[in-house]
Symmetry: C2
Subunit: 310 residues, 2 copies
């Protein structure tokens, strides 16, 4: 028996196919628009060129008891900080550390809760990269207005913002963004303590913290953890901490053990079509299209790909 | 030993006190502004009149193995739907049902997964209340612009939106909002299946679903549940479902067993000051105030109050 709950929100789920609704009647004299397509239909029809593999040279695998969290870093928008993190990873800095803070509707944070692991002297201080010159990186602007930044959009399939007056750009605090914890000293954010956003986008953190990347897979391993009951969501008992088995660069993992993912290119026509479809949803469920999409509600679709055989 | 992590984000946590930073130097000839106060300081100095108790006549206690979720309903913006839900609660409709869907960065949903519990015939269909005439309810407008609605703000300490052209208002899909699941038929949302937002505000759902209230306490009991692995985050095995012991109206619970909470009045000067402080954070940690606050990032502070003695 098909019960009502099975179709609740069926159209709002990622990659769920729905019958397309015909577009509204066009005004007289204008060409009939193409029927509205759902995101799933758009993705299903996408060319291979609309996707790129994750960059294994800058992708981290954080292994936890529940599975693997895949984090892609973007050196273009935080070159020194990403280099520092990758150097720490090569030193196995994070192996055996733990998730030490989970604050509801905010962040999950990991690092060295007891402060016993040594960050090499020459890596302890690092000038922050709250924003950087955009340089050669392509910025795909989202036409929808934003309250927190002059312009928002995407750099290489990462949510970002830009100030055309200054030429500076920065990654934004959307769900799944990974940033660098720091103390009051801005140079204290050396990458040895990281967090992922697990709640409503805390965009007020933008340009106050260096964001280095985004969780491409496995965010639910962090977002579903028990919330810490100490102040700010810290775990108040060591036994509550969630162990991190290891953090490795994907490129350091044997090919057969890698998680092969592709992300939709934010500079592809397919992505533009996805954004348009999500801005104005037209299907059997949605009655009132929003006509707008907020930066952090734009999906950045990821798909698994079969391993290549040599 | 004080380790660096203990102060990470210390200023972004709810109700954490920080030393106030002096305001910037005033322009010549203008009076010196008062020093910036943190939200914690503002709340600590708030008069009793800035707070109101939850309305026990329209507050639900959802009892789960992990504890109590406290949901306050707002009849003013969904009168028929709230009445239907409260009637179902009085019939003990939800007792023994379960959380049946947890979709990451989206919703936790509860109801009757097996479709065996009978909703009375006269309660099965209900005209939706996606938006309603605002009527006598006071709307405290947030001056910050919004992409999804002509105006946003607060009605009785619930996040809401309004269209001044039509005079219609609606509750918005912010974190913790509670809405009514429905099938494609808009009248199918009778209140027997409800959801709470546990991710980035899915504002595109606004005016497509009837929102009835907001979780005032215990949202973490829903947001930290394991994500369902079936499509749309449904639990695919009955054993995965999380039981709901009971859902009761607060007013039906003995006084000694009630959860006594107060919420900051959204029409109070204290609330205005809180919003201003959060729009432009000034402290030892924040270097770049946002100058803007998005509706769903506005805190709606709740505090526990001691039970009154007769």
């Amino acid at each position: 028996m098909r019960t009502a709950w099975q179709s609740l929100f069926v159209t709002t789920g990622l990659l769920m196919a729905r019958a397309a609704m015909p577009a509204e009647a066009a005004a007289p004299g204008t060409p009939a628009p193409a029927p509205a397509r759902s995101m799933a239909e758009i993705l299903a029809a996408s060319p291979a060129s609309a996707w790129r593999p994750l960059n294994d040279e800058h992708t981290l695998y954080m292994e936890m008891p529940g599975g693997r969290v895949v984090i892609e870093l973007l050196p273009a928008l935080a070159p020194r900080t990403v280099a520092n993190i990758e150097a720490l990873v090569r030193l196995h800095y994070f192996d055996g550390l733990s998730i030490l803070r989970v604050q509801d509707n905010y962040v999950a944070q990991w690092g060295d809760p007891d402060g016993v692991r040594k960050v090499p002297d020459n890596m302890q201080k690092l000038a922050p990269e709250f924003s950087v010159p955009l340089g050669a990186a392509a910025f795909t602007q989202l036409p929808d207005r934003d309250g927190y930044a002059p312009q928002v959009g995407f750099v290489d399939s990462f949510a970002a913002a830009r100030d055309p007056a200054s030429g500076m750009a920065w990654l934004t605090h959307c769900y799944g963004a990974v940033g660098v914890g720091r103390d009051n000293d801005p140079a204290s954010g050396n990458g040895s303590e990281l967090y992922a956003v697990i709640g409503n986008a805390p965009r007020h953190l933008d340009r106050n913290v260096t964001i280095v990347g985004r969780v491409r897979q496995g965010i639910e391993l962090l977002s579903s953890l028990p919330r810490g009951t100490a102040e700010l969501g810290f775990y108040d008992k060591p036994a509550q901490r969630v162990p991190i088995t290891s953090v490795q660069l994907a490129s350091a993992v044997p090919a057969a053990e890698r998680t092969r993912l592709e992300v939709l290119r934010s500079d592809s026509p397919t992505f533009t079509a996805v954004v348009a479809a999500r801005r104005n949803r037209k299907d059997d469920w949605y009655l009132q299209p929003a006509g707008y999409i907020e930066l952090c509600n734009v999906p950045l679709p990821v798909r698994a790909v079969a391993p290549t055989t040599p």
